[in-house]
Symmetry: C2
Subunit: 355 residues, 2 copies
C-alpha cells in the first residue's frame, strides 16, 4: 500500500517565506513574492538548482527521444472572464502558445484542464470553448487532450482553465540568458500595458473614457518570422504578469548583465498612460498578453524591427534600450528629464487575477 | 487589435446538454454527463471527430518531429486534500503519470499549475509540493515547468493542481481500441475501490471501522514491465472516476465489442465491499488511482498476470472477464447466483471531488 514518504513534521518553511505564513494575492503576481515562492518552496521540492525546472524560462526545454521540446503551463483565473478584446478562453490559448514560442519553438499541441464551478451556465462554457478553438486555429495549434472537474458553488469563480503546451525546437535554435551580452538591443513588439488596463477597466468601480482592448494574441508567428529571416535572437520573453519591468529584471539577473532603457522610447498608448496616472500604476509593470521583448545583437536590431513591423502584430515594434556591462542584475531607465531611475522587480502584480 | 472571431450570439448549446443548462457536480464525474460535455461541447469546439482530441484516450498520442509522444492533463480538486494513503500532491503526480503510461509511453516530464486560495497555509503548500516531488522521483519523472495563480478567499478551496505530462512512445508500441478483439482477456492489476472509499471515509459524517488507504501509485513501472516482457497488450486504462464500470463501457463502445466480466472474480477488498453495501455504492463504479485494466490476447493472459504479480503494485492482479463478439458496446456481469446483469456507464461519479 502506498504511503507518502514525507513526514509532515519534518517540513519547515524556509525563512524568507515566513513574512507571509499564508498565501496572499501577491504570491500569484509576477513579482518578488512569486519569485520567493518558486525559489524557496517549489524549486527545492521539485529537484533544486540542478533541475530542468531551475531553467525558470517561460517554458522548459527538454529532450524526448530525438526531439527537442518546449513544454510550458499556465493557469488562467482572470476576472472578469470577458473583457474588452478577449476572454478567458483566448487568453488560455494565447498565453501558453506564447510561453512555448518564447524558446524559439514551434508550438504544436495544447492540453486544457477546466475547473468549473457548479452553476456556471453551459452557454458560457460553450462560448469559452469555441473561443479557445478559434484561438488555437489562429495560432496553428491543436487542443489534443483535456480534463474537466467541477467544484461546489462557492469554491470557484465560474471557470479556471489551465493549459499546457508542447512545441518543437528546430536544430540550431538556442535562446536563453546565456546568449544575452552587453551591446544587445532590447526590442518590444508593440505598445505595452493594454491587457492589464483593459481588464481593470471592466472591474467594479473603474470606468475609463476610451475603450482599451486587451492585446491578447499568439506570438508564434512573429517568432517564426524572426527566426526564418535569420535574425540572431539571443533571448525572448512575453511580458505578462509584472509587465516589462519584471521581464527585464529577470533577464538582467539571469544573464548577469545590466539593462538600460530609455523611458521615452517605451511605447505606452495614451489611454494606458492616462489610466496609469489616474491609478498610480507604472505602465512598465502592467501585464501584456500579446507582446514580446527580444534581445538581439546590435547588428541585427534594424533587421529584426523590419521583420517584426511587417506583421500586423508587430507593427508597433521598437527598440527601448540596450544591455550594458555595468550594474549587473539591475535595470535602469533614463527618464524624460535626463536622469536615471532604477526599475525594480515589482513586489507583486499591481492588479490581481489579471490573467 | 485582436478581436474574438466568435459571435456569442450565434453560439447555441446542443440539445442533449439542455437538460442541464448549468454545470452540475455530475459534469465532473467520469460518467455519462461528462461524456456528453465532451461530445457535444468540447469536441466540436476543438476540432470535431477528425481531431486528435477525438481519440479520447487517457492521453493523446501525437507526433512531434521524430518523436511519438503521449500528452495528457488532469485537474485535481480532491476534498479533503489529505486522506488515508495520500494527498492532493501525490494524486496530481500519479494521476498524470498513469494517464500517460496507459498509451504504453514512458512518462518523462510533468508540468504543474497551481490555483491557490488566499489564506492557504504556506506550510501546507510546502508539504504538497514536497509530496509531489517525492512522487515524481518515485515515478522517475521530473516536474519541469509550472505556474502559480492566487484567487481571493471564497473562490477556491485551498489548492487545485493541474498537471500535464509528456511521455515517449517507443517504436512498435501500438495500443488502443482498434486492437481489442473478441477473445481478449480483461485483467485488473489489483483490488479495486480503495481510493474512492478512502477519500469518502474522511469526509464529514462518514466513519468506517477499519482504515482503508488510497491506492494512489504510479503505474508506469507495471506498464514498462509488461512491454519489456513482450506481452502483447492490446489496450490499457486506469479506472479512475467512474471506476472499472466506466472504463469497460468506454472500451466496449470504442472497440465495438462486448465485454463480459465475472462478478466473483473482481477483487473487491472486504472493507470496500462493506462500505459500498452501507452506502449503496457499486464497487465497480468507485474510483481507483493505482490500478490498471489491461486487455491482452488470450494466449498472453497468464504471462501478463505473472509479470504483473512480480511487482508489488500488481501483486493482486487477476483476470476478471473477456471480450466477446456478442452485445457490442455493452458490458455484462455474470452474477454470483448464475444470472447476468448489464453494467452501465454511471450517470456521473457517485462521489464528487474524489480526485
Amino acid at each position: 500500500m502506498t504511503t507518502t514518504p514525507l513526514d509532515p513534521q519534518n517540513w519547515s518553511c524556509p525563512v524568507p517565506l515566513r513574512d507571509h505564513p499564508t498565501i496572499v494575492m501577491g504570491h500569484g503576481g509576477g513579482g518578488r513574492l512569486g519569485a520567493e515562492l518558486i525559489e524557496h518552496l517549489f524549486l527545492p521540492a521539485f529537484g533544486g538548482t540542478g533541475s530542468i525546472l531551475a531553467q525558470l524560462g517561460d517554458a522548459a526545454v527538454v529532450q524526448a527521444g530525438a526531439a527537442r521540446l518546449a513544454f510550458s503551463t499556465d493557469s488562467f483565473v482572470v476576472r472578469p472572464r470577458f473583457f474588452p478584446g478577449g476572454n478567458l478562453g483566448d487568453l488560455a490559448i494565447n498565453g501558453t502558445v506564447n510561453d512555448v514560442a518564447m524558446t524559439g519553438a514551434v508550438p504544436l499541441f495544447l492540453s486544457a484542464g477546466f475547473v468549473l464551478e457548479e452553476g456556471l451556465a453551459l452557454d458560457e462554457l460553450g462560448i469559452l470553448a469555441q473561443t479557445m478553438g478559434a484561438a488555437a486555429r489562429r495560432a496553428g495549434v491543436e487542443v489534443v487532450t483535456g480534463d474537466t472537474k467541477v467544484v461546489d458553488a462557492g469554491h470557484g469563480d465560474g471557470a479556471y482553465i489551465t493549459t499546457a503546451g508542447v512545441g518543437l525546437i528546430a536544430p540550431g535554435v538556442d535562446l536563453g540568458p546565456h546568449r544575452v551580452q552587453p551591446g544587445d538591443v532590447v526590442l518590444v513588439s508593440g505598445p505595452i500595458g493594454l491587457h492589464g488596463i483593459a481588464v481593470l477597466s471592466v472591474r467594479d468601480g473603474f470606468e475609463f473614457g476610451s475603450e482599451i482592448l486587451s492585446d491578447t494574441a499568439p506570438l508564434n508567428g512573429l517568432v517564426a518570422a524572426l527566426l526564418a529571416a535569420g535574425v540572431d535572437v539571443h533571448m525572448m520573453r512575453d511580458p505578462t504578469r509584472g509587465g516589462v519591468a519584471a521581464i527585464l529584471n529577470e533577464i538582467a539577473a539571469s544573464s548577469d548583465t545590466g539593462v538600460e532603457i530609455v523611458e521615452r522610447s517605451v511605447p505606452v498608448p495614451e489611454p494606458v498612460s492616462a489610466a496609469c496616472s489616474l491609478l498610480g500604476l507604472d505602465p512598465l509593470e502592467v501585464a501584456n498578453e500579446g507582446r514580446l521583448v527580444a534581445f538581439v545583437g546590435r547588428d541585427d536590431a534594424d533587421h529584426a524591427l523590419e521583420v517584426l513591423r511587417s506583421d500586423p502584430l508587430g507593427v508597433g515594434a521598437t527598440a527601448i534600450g540596450q544591455v550594458v556591462a555595468e550594474h549587473a542584475g539591475v535595470v535602469v531607465a533614463r527618464t524624460g528629464i535626463g536622469g536615471t531611475r532604477v526599475v525594480d522587480l515589482p513586489l507583486s502584480e499591481q492588479l490581481p487575477r489579471i490573467c
